[in-house]
Amino acid sequence: MLRRQFIGMAFALVAGLGLAAPQAQAAERFIIVQSTTSTANSGLLDAILPAFTDKTGIEVRVVAVGTGQAIKNATNGDGDVLLVHAKSAEEKFVAEGWGVERFNVMYNDFVVVGPAADPAGIKGSADVVAAMKKIAAAGAPFASRGDDSGTHKAELKLWKEAGVDVAAASGGWYRETGSGMGATLNAGVGMGAYVLTDRATWISFGNKGDFGVAVEGDQRLFNQYGVILVNPQKHPNVKAGDGQAFIDWLTGPEGQKAIAGFTIEGQQLFFPNAARKPAVQG
Amino acid sequence: MRDAGAIAPSAIHAARGILPLSAEGLVLRMAGQTLIDIARLTIDEGGPTMVMGPNGAGKSILLRLLHGLIEPDAGRILWAGQPARAGIRLRQAMVFQRPVLLRRSVAANIDYALKVNGVPRVRRPAAVARALALGGLEPQARQPARTLSGGEQQRLALVRALAVEPEILFLDEPTASLDPAATAAIERLIADAAARGTKIVMVTHDPGQARRLGAEVVFMHRGRIAEHTDADAFFRQPGSREARAFLAGELVL
């Protein structure tokens, strides 16, 4: 009898928690969006998604990972919609049949942030390629995502344009954290290294130390986001209707207006451009 | 499992008892040493059998071999002329020098022994009450068994063993670490059990105790049976040199 009481107590505890748990399974109608840390961590999605859910009754569950992992997860069918920023990888995703069609959504821009001491002397530069050459020449520490994310891909493209072989400097002044944007910023601030980051993550980042924006405004720093419905012919479980509804809303007037209206500290971080082709190519 | 008729010891004895218990060509070796080497030993119904002998003579090992806790290297144990069959252990019980009590109440310890012995649930409360009364442990029935005093613990171990109404009860120096009063209580319980027809086989160091309780004595020396005689005869005139020396208080090696 005591044994039953004993086990019963334990089960009652868990059952009670189960009842008290949040509305985890409450919403029956939902889609999963595989997206990137820049959209989720900046607060953009938290800000704009409720309007969509209110209108359609569709809950949007966001898995925020690096672009590389987001695309991989979507390839596995673990999501209904892909919202990332690595155009060539996105086009490959569609070309291979994993996605239905790619739509432009918005763009933001990258900035190079660095310590106040500015060891490479690049502060105020508007030429990112020249600045990166200076960083390499000075051997000033640079923290890279090193995680195959959209930001990492953009950064590698810039090094290539600057003619710098970062593989040779890996472990020296060039340090690959292999982690997300926030973790890389934390590491960069910790070791006084320059970091290429999207502006949205940077503005909302809470651990800036004495870091500030060193390079901005270069056309090559623009960063295009695309949205793709995962192909229901490849993965029958994909909620094509609800997923497409989300894409239509995001690229339509309401979604575009919501994106434009999202600001942090008075700054607009994302610029909707669904109606037209990306303004600039990096 | 026992059948209903097997509950009362007298009934068993009358019907198809498991005694006599006999050992034939029993050998146990360990690390190159022969610990037990017994050509023949028969323990029959009757008064308590006392197993005596100096330290290291193999008394405790013999008890475990007979009870079936240890497998011999050679030889066999026979119960009423037959090799041990399944369930034979349920008709025996053993009390160890240091009582092993479950981490439960006094009453639950007895109930457990009855349960694993196959006594039906409906009969157990009465049997537990009888055992508690026998051991004078009623006030402590709900107390954690391991908080009892040393004497009470051994009393519980003994009435727990008796609760299943074994035909034969092995005891391995049950009073070795008890004071005289506790020892007397244990001896009284053993004597009563013997009087009710339970065969007692008991290892003891204490010649006084053997004299008080024993009907016959098995005297061991270096793994062999040196002497197996009537208790009166043993204490009056031991047959073996080792037993004479032991009783005289000499150091027997």
Binding site: A21, G182, G206 | -
Partner: protein
């Protein structure tokens, strides 16, 4: 120099504010980890007991394996469970990925070896004391397992708590199979990871303090249960 007083006062303010969001996260953490540990205990304790009393070929190898699995990296477990539950994986049809159930599964895998290994040690010690008496009572090795588990229940609580400690503090596995989805699979540890990545170090640390406080509360609750149970059940 970092200011360590801010996280503490922030933690206190968060608790006092009784924020519904935070409460939801805390309850989900407890639900996932306690469920996982209970399931792991139902598997691990009998397994540990069988390893303790059993005499079968391969036992020694199994003991070494279970001991080694205590060090399973959570990320690896998360990855394996992800690959199994993914829509491209063999169990994709169950549609469990990015649900609390997936997180429970991952934690069960992580915690079961810990509970099994610690239980084996506990039961082996107890069996050393009980074995001869139980054989004498006619209880076979296999049949003695429930008795040993029951009589070892207070020592086994430590195994349970060790498992709980591992589960509640683990982030690598749940963030992969849960996806850290807000209001669905976001637990304490993934929230801490998220706030750290946002550079909100004080908030992350404050949440960490709350997590430790929860762990202490659970340990204390089990301690109390143990104490009152001991009085009633007679240790």
């Amino acid at each position: 120099m970092q200011d360590f007083t801010e996280p503490f006062s922030l933690a206190l303010r968060l608790i006092l504010a009784g924020d519904a969001e935070l409460l939801g996260i805390v309850l989900l953490s407890l639900r996932v980890s306690l469920s996982a540990v209970l399931i792991a205990a139902l598997i691990g304790m009998p397994l540990g007991a069988v390893l303790a009393v059993g005499r079968f070929p391969g036992r020694a190898a199994l003991v070494v394996t279970v001991n080694a699995l205590m060090g399973l990296p959570p990320v690896v477990v998360g990855l394996v469970i992800y690959l199994l539950l993914s829509n491209a994986g063999p169990l994709g049809v169950l549609q469990l990925l990015y649900t609390p159930t997936a997180m429970i599964i991952a934690q069960v895998v992580l915690v079961t070896p810990i509970i099994a290994a610690l239980s084996r040690q506990v039961i082996e010690d107890l069996n050393g004391e009980y074995a001869e008496q139980l054989r004498s009572l006619g209880v076979s090795r296999v049949a003695s397992v429930p008795t040993l588990l029951w009589d070892g229940r207070y020592s086994l609580m430590t195994a349970f708590l060790a498992g709980f400690g591992r589960a509640i503090a683990e982030v690598g596995a749940v963030i992969i199979v849960g996806g850290n989805i807000n209001h669905v699979t976001r637990v304490m540890t993934t929230t801490i990871a998220l706030e750290t990545s946002k550079g909100n170090l004080a908030l992350a640390l404050a949440l960490g303090i709350i997590l430790v406080a929860i762990a202490i509360a659970v340990n204390a609750a089990v301690g109390l249960m143990r104490g009152s149970e001991r009085q009633v059940a007679h240790a």
